[in-house]
Amino acid sequence: MNRINETIRKDHKLLSIYFTAGYPNLEDTAEIIQQLQDNGVDMVEIGLPFSDPLADGPTIQESSTQALKNGMTTTVLFDQLKGIRKSVDIPLIIMGYFNPMLQYGVEEFCSKCQSVGIDGLIIPDLPVDVYHEHYQDIFEKYGLKNIFLITPQTSAHRIGYIDSVSDAFIYMVSSASTTGAKTGFGDVQMRYFERISNMELKNPQIVGFGISNHETFNHATRFSKGAIIGSAFIKFLKSHELSEIGDFIGSIRKG
């Protein structure tokens, strides 16, 4: 069974952390993943940096730019992940834009993911219908779960379609926005979380975008299975040592 599906069965609210591979330093990737697991994070999204990350806000953009400057490439990332499964067993998801995957070769990319132990992919600019038509077979061949986003503007019909194509969880974007754009959740968002929850989809939802601390994590997970933190973690990395990652995770879990 895929690690993501297994993890999702756990009965606590899941904390998932996004970071950009190769940031702050090229060789930090494995160490960050290790620290995250050691500090009780449930799932990790490894950002494959892209020159033009158009769904991302300034924080993730900057970290991507820096990572590329540091020398991060698809090949380098796979190299860094080669031994990761020796010590890490939480689900690992690669989050990245479609163009670098296309250049690597989609099947080649998926095959490589499988061989280093990646469990799933989040590709913001690969729409569900294109995936469904062209790539689903390949992803499945290599045991990769593809995760789709929904937003407050996504129609019920489309959510149903996405749910039908998905087989892990649905990435519920907290509000229509780029990463890191808004802070805190208001009534509108809470009603949206509740509305989706009431749809009783086959896939659980994990909330992303705008979660930065204990409070927003609690809000986001009231009606969902878990939440993903990205920009807030990148900001933390900017001014802290990797050895301090536990402090950040602790502050989210315990407030």
Partner: protein, 393 residues
């Protein structure tokens, strides 16, 4: 083979809508409605009326006597430089502002490189009294100051794009981010035949007034229904798309696309996408794209800010891949000299983008009876600074 878009939004293997889910409702709303809205007679009436009374269409098809003589062929210039705001760009922004109104949008965003599309967008927003935000790379803001001032005078807010290379590509990223963050009241007016379907097709249709007029004007002047060749510069590809449009399926009309080779195709400072690009995805579209082997989009270079784009529209990618169009690339220097030659021979100062199209005559020969229409996409007033520096005027 068809060179128009298919029902799925593709030109051959190029096109589509590779967009984040956050954009889906916006793009889908547009996709579902654009053909119907454009076909509506009240839309067409308003569009045509504004093109005539406000933009100044039809633009002339001018027989360039002295240029023709020099190159031994019949050269006609399609005078898009005479449009209000000085380039073909406004054909599209007039169309899109009417589209936005009919979609009930109250806020317009746009990206701009050289500032021409930004000015054209700010212009139509002022005309309609609609809020306008233009994203422009920080570097372009500095080097295109007059257009920044024009946009401000027209009441637009110019927002510097500070990410990436701080030029057009990044301004486009920022505009897309804005759209993601404002999914309900905002329409994004893209400035070329790029972006996710249905943008390339919609923009091409708005620009197709150019080839429509060329047909009527050649009829009047030469008693023929089509030229032998149409020549246009290609940044994103909108002026080319507009001037090719009605000839796409008629292979007896030669289509010539001129790209910016910058300091030389292999100099590392170039924007010749067809020569240097590979299939990839940029700004929501699968197309030819300048990129690293790793799939990172590379920074293009051209002396003209409007050709300084690492991709081309999917229509052009298909025209290239299928061999339907002939792609020629031209260096900064060749373009500048061709621009100056047009000044001296015909009394027309072209935009540096446009000047690229004229540079082909030095090497690409035509016969004396060939009728060659060059799309004179814009005037050079915005480029005086660059011309002055280059020629030490």
């Amino acid at each position: 083979m068809s060179y128009n878009v298919n029902e799925k939004g593709y030109y051959g293997e190029f096109g589509g809508a590779f967009i984040p889910e956050m954009l889906f409702p916006n793009v889908e709303e547009l996709r579902q409605n654009y053909i119907e809205i454009m076909s509506d007679s009240s839309f067409q009436e308003e569009f045509q009326q504004l093109l005539k009374d406000y933009v100044g269409r039809p633009t002339p098809l001018y027989f360039a006597n002295r240029l023709s003589e020099k190159y031994g062929t019949k050269i006609y210039l399609k005078r898009e430089d005479l449009n209000h705001t000085g380039a073909h760009k406004v054909n599209n922004t007039i169309g899109q502002i009417l589209m936005a109104q009919r979609l009930g949008k109250s806020r317009i965003i746009a990206e701009t490189g050289a500032g021409q599309h930004g000015v054209a967008t700010a212009t139509v927003c002022a005309l309609m009294g609609i809020e306008c935000i233009v994203y422009m790379g920080e570097i372009d803001i500095a080097r295109q100051a007059p257009n920044v001032a024009r946009m401000k005078m027209l009441g637009a807010t110019v927002v510097p794009a500070v990410s990436g290379s701080k030029t057009l590509k990044d301004a486009t990223n920022e505009a897309i981010r804005d759209w993601i963050n404002n999914p309900e009241d905002t329409h994004y007016i893209i400035g070329s035949v790029v972006g996710p379907h249905p943008y390339p097709d919609m923009v091409a249709r708005f620009q197709s007034i150019v080839s429509e007029e060329i047909i009527a004007q050649l009829e009047e002047k030469e008693n023929i229904s089509k030229p032998d060749y149409v020549v246009a510069c290609v940044g994103g590809g909108s002026n080319a798309a507009g001037s090719y449009y009605h000839f796409l399926e008629d292979e007896s009309v030669g289509l010539i696309a001129v790209e910016a080779a910058g300091k030389g195709i292999h100099s590392g400072e170039s924007a010749a996408t067809s020569a240097l690009g590979k299939t990839g995805i940029i700004h929501g579209s699968k197309t030819l794209l300048m990129q690293t082997s790793d799939g990172q989009i590379t920074e293009p270079y051209s002396i003209s800010a409007g050709l300084d784009y690492p991709g081309v529209g999917p229509m052009h990618a298909h025209l290239y891949a299928s061999g339907r169009a002939e792609f020629i690339s031209v260096t900064d220097e060749e373009a500048m000299n061709a621009g100056l030659e047009l000044c001296k021979l015909e009394g027309i100062i072209p935009a540096i983008e446009t000047a690229h199209a004229f540079a082909i005559f030095e090497s690409r020969k035509f016969t004396k009876d060939d009728v060659v229409v060059v799309n004179l996409s814009g005037r050079g007033d915005k480029d005086l600074e660059t011309y002055i520096k280059f020629f030490n005027l």
